[in-house]
């Protein structure tokens, strides 16, 4: 049997960015195992008593308080989210951690994070953790318009934030991926998180900026592999059904075979990414 659910107490309901709800949960049993890139499954009764596992990325951890903040992913149908309507004191069954942590090599000192409003929930904890570990972090973040950007105060002040907006209301007008060329050579590793369009653009930009290998400041050739970790990881935000790798709901085909986001993901190495294909029986 898989990990049994534990009961979490809801401490507060908040907002990560406009329309993106967070839940602050007291769940000390799970806290030690959680890393950036992990999510929790919230087992919650929907209308009619039907209980679904809802995937929620971990956005913040407070070890002393034994609390974890998770973000609710927006519903595809734009409908009401009963989890967002809970109030402090409610109890929620929680399973986790879901997925693998984002791989950061011990030798990587300079990390570039590229995100949009959808993907920010998956990388906020990463940025904070990297700063705590004395790494340098640049966040390229994009939104349709300035008011949809996550607040800078959600990140440690040491994070260098570079903004792109589609309408030009703040920062660069266009995509965060447009800014990749400025930072790609600086970065020991790149983590991109967001809608499929952003992930594709980041992958293309990364391939355009340089070849697989590059020369370090000391004149040595080094691979664009940061130690054992991939240089470019794409974090794919998606519903996760069973959380055990059996249902196929979060699986896609890659050059290296099937990837289950709940088991091998949600962060995947970019070169292996390809669209799902169908072959008839």
């Amino acid at each position: 049997m898989g990990a049994p659910p534990v009961t979490a107490q809801l401490l507060a309901v908040g907002e990560l960015s406009p329309g993106r709800t967070t839940l602050l949960l007291r769940v000390p049993e799970l806290i030690a195992a959680l890393r950036p890139g992990h999510a929790l499954h919230l087992v919650h009764a929907e209308a009619g008593g039907y209980r679904l596992r809802r995937v929620a990325p971990v956005t913040k951890i407070d070890l002393l308080a034994g609390s974890v903040e998770v973000a609710l992913l927006p519903r595809a149908d734009g409908g009401r989210d009963s989890l967002a309507e809970l109030t402090a004191g409610a109890q929620i069954a929680v399973v986790g951690p879901i997925g693998q942590p984002i791989e950061i090599d011990s030798a990587s000192q300079q990390i570039l994070i590229v995100s949009d409003g959808e993907g920010f929930a998956w990388v906020r904890l990463l940025a904070a953790s990297l700063i705590s570990a004395s790494r340098s972090v640049v966040l390229l973040v994009e939104a349709r318009t300035a008011v949809e950007l996550p607040a800078a105060s959600l990140l440690p002040e040491q994070v260098e934030i570079v903004v792109a907006t589609e309408d030009g209301s703040l920062g660069h007008q266009g995509s965060a991926a447009d800014l990749m060329s400025t930072y790609a050579d600086w970065a020991d590793q790149v983590i991109a998180s967001g809608e499929r369009g952003l992930l594709n653009a980041v992958t293309s930009a990364a391939r355009a900026t340089s070849a697989i290998d590059r020369t370090t400041a000391k004149g040595k050739r080094r691979s664009r592999q940061a130690g054992g970790a991939p240089w470019l990881q794409l974090l794919i935000s998606h519903e996760i059904g069973c959380g055990s790798g059996v249902c196929g709901g979060c699986t896609f085909s890659s050059a290296n075979g099937s990837v289950r986001l709940c088991r091998e993901g949600p962060a995947v190495s970019a070169p292996g990414l390809s669209a799902g294909t169908r072959r008839d029986s």
Partner: protein
């Protein structure tokens, strides 16, 4: 072919199919195809000793890569998914999972996926040729899959094509055949009769009806495949109607399912005429559900003065038909 209920003292919840193609289940609980994978990994979520029949994920003759992402989204009252029957093909499935099937503490049904009759025949032939490695107790014929002969529509949308499909399977095996349809099936009662005539042994009215949802921008569909399969409470009344309609025909024993999230939901299916209960995505959130359903059914039977779960079957149906 008859449905026999064994004595309550030995196993009041046991289900036995007797006749030429017997099938004995220790519990009236079936796992819906796809929900728990092929079997070996299922133990991560559910104790298979609580289950009567484990239905595998769909198996095709050759590899199916499956659908692109997104494959799964929430919808009001449930979920919509389009996995694409991803599987590595029959030989690899047997190699990887045959040992787990043979060792399973419950009966195993292999869910068969085929777009044409030629593929179906070869698929069954492959399974039969390796029967000692497979250890299957039954086959599920997935008529919610898409038919080449019907231009990519589901087999279940045509009574005539569905009958041909069942006929072809019957000619290829002596194992019990479970025919799976969704509430979208044309006239369930008529379908049950035709399926029985073609050689089916059970009718599983537990498949997912078709749904569609645009994404939030309304510039594309929410699922990569466009249409998807619905599950959850939103389909339960439709599934119950189809179960009741099929059960009233008396042509075949019925497996009923769709949107069951609690023991009470399962009792509704027994009352509508289901002999066996198919549990789906609710198992992800509640691994104790199979045991809870059986306990609840036993209590419900006792409260009616009976001692067998089978006494619950069709109680609402009888009232409906006598009115």
């Amino acid at each position: 072919m008859t449905v026999e209920r064994t004595s309550p003292s030995s196993a009041e919840a046991r289900f036995s199919l007797t006749g030429k193609r017997p099938l004995q289940l220790e519990r009236p609980i079936v796992t819906a195809s796809g929900v728990l994978g092929f079997g070996a990994e299922a133990a991560e979520l559910v104790d298979l000793r609580d289950v009567g029949l484990f239905v595998t994920r769909g198996v095709s003759l050759v590899t199916r890569g499956g659908a692109g992402l997104p494959r799964m989204v929430e919808v009001p009252g449930g979920m919509m998914h389009a996995i694409g029957r991803e599987n590595p093909g029959v030989d690899e499935v047997i190699d990887r999972h045959g040992a787990a099937w043979r060792a399973a503490p419950c009966a195993i049904a292999i869910s068969l996926v085929a777009a044409d009759l030629g593929s179906l025949g070869k698929l069954i032939a492959r399974l039969e040729s390796r029967a000692d490695l497979v250890g299957a107790d039954a086959y599920e014929l997935d008529l919610t899959f898409l038919s080449d002969a019907l231009g990519g529509r589901r087999w279940e949308s045509s009574l005539e094509e569905s009958t041909r499909f069942i006929d072809a399977a019957r000619d290829s095996t002596e194992l019990p055949l479970i025919v799976k349809v969704s509430p979208d099936v044309v006239t369930p009662a008529q379908f049950a009769g035709a399926a029985a005539d073609a050689g089916a042994d059970l009718l599983s009215v537990s498949g997912s009806p078709v749904g569609f949802l645009p994404n939030r921008t309304r510039a594309a569909s929410a699922l990569a495949e466009g249409e998807g399969e619905l599950s959850g409470p939103l389909i339960r009344p439709r599934a119950l109607a189809a179960v009741a309609n099929a059960a009233a025909s008396g042509a075949l024993p019925i497996i009923g399912g769709g949107g069951i999230g609690s023991p009470a939901d399962a009792l509704d299916y027994f009352a509508a005429g289901a002999h066996l209960i198919s549990l789906g995505s609710a198992l992800w959130a509640d691994s104790d559900l199979p045991r809870a359903v059986i306990e609840s059914a036993r209590r419900a039977a006792a409260s009616r003065g009976g001692s067998r779960v089978a006494d619950l079957v069709g109680t609402a149906l009888r009232r409906t038909t006598t009115r």
